[in-house]
């Protein structure tokens, strides 16, 4: 509210200053090497009106484009916020060390598709191409999927060795080292999403 009042006040002051400037200039008959012609023909009037209309039209088009860009950015940034909060919530589930296999695969597929689609679609309507950033983040997500679900086709039983990923009845448990690796990968993903947010915000 206070911002709107300040903005209106500023505009009014600028309008008054322009008017005062015009009034002062009108007092002069000439400012060497130029002179003021006080009579105006029909073409001159038409030119003035056309120029004013053109200036208004261009500012309106640019203003509208800026409004659309701003709204698009807000939508994309809020979707990226959602992905970050999904992963932050996921960290607490990883700490529980008892995850359902289907929950992990579906969570990562949803977020991978979401980030790729988001970057691809946003790039379609903007001059900067974000699809590479999207692909980099989704590649990290796929690495996370491997870390969280991959089991060897030929496990070799070694005494006193805990497999990094153990699955029984679709419930996954991890070794302590693997949990650290998973948490590190999630941090990398969150950092990359934040970097993308900053990049989008700066354009």
């Amino acid at each position: 509210m206070r911002k709107a009042i300040a903005s209106n006040l500023f505009r009014s002051i600028v309008a008054v200053l322009i008017f005062a400037f015009g009034f002062m200039i009108g007092k002069y008959k000439s400012i060497s090497p130029y002179y003021f012609k006080k009579d105006l023909d029909l073409i001159g009037i038409a030119t003035i009106f056309f120029n004013v209309w053109l200036a208004w039209y261009i500012s309106r088009v640019i203003g509208k484009r800026n409004d659309i860009d701003k709204k698009d950015k807000e939508i994309v940034l809020s979707r990226l916020d959602k992905i970050i909060s999904n992963y932050e919530l996921f960290i607490t589930q990883v700490h529980s060390n008892s995850l359902n296999y289907i929950d992990v695969t579906s969570f990562i597929k949803r977020n991978t598709s979401s980030i790729e689609r988001l970057c691809k679609n946003f790039s379609l309507y903007h001059t900067f191409d974000y699809s590479n950033e999207g692909k980099e983040i989704s590649a990290e997500m796929k690495k996370l999927l491997s870390l969280m679900t991959y089991t060897s086709p030929n496990p070799i039983p070694i005494p006193n060795f805990q497999e990094p990923v153990t699955i029984s009845q679709n419930i996954i448990t991890y070794s302590a080292t693997r949990i650290d690796e998973i948490l590190l990968k999630i941090d990398t993903i969150i950092d990359n999403v934040i970097r993308l947010q900053l990049l989008i915000n700066s354009k």
């Binding site: 296999y101 695969t105 579906s106 969570f107 990562i108 598709s113 086709p153 699955i167 679709n170």
Partner: protein, 114 residues
Amino acid sequence: METLKISKIFSSTPGPRSRKEGSFSGQQFREEILAPAIKKAIDNNEILIVNIDGTAGYGPSFIEESFGGLIREDHIPYQTLIAHLQIVSIEEPYLIDDANKDMKDAESYSEQLV
């Protein structure tokens, strides 16, 4: 030319690698559906299309066990397999590359054993 859509014919929530790890595993899919279908396609000199779209998501072990397992466990030669198998996906096209790599790796692994 037969088409298998995993989400319809098997499960929309594919599971882990082996039966002992959980339900709707890659091993179950390969043993019950994929291996018989590809063997039939090879016998009839046809191409089997496997559509992997429409699921909640795959773990890499499921893909490896299903496709790599055809070479490792069912002993189908790599060249025969790629001549009769086509994997399609719009949702997750990178999985096609993963499956192809898994089949190649399984072939290398089998050659090492011989």
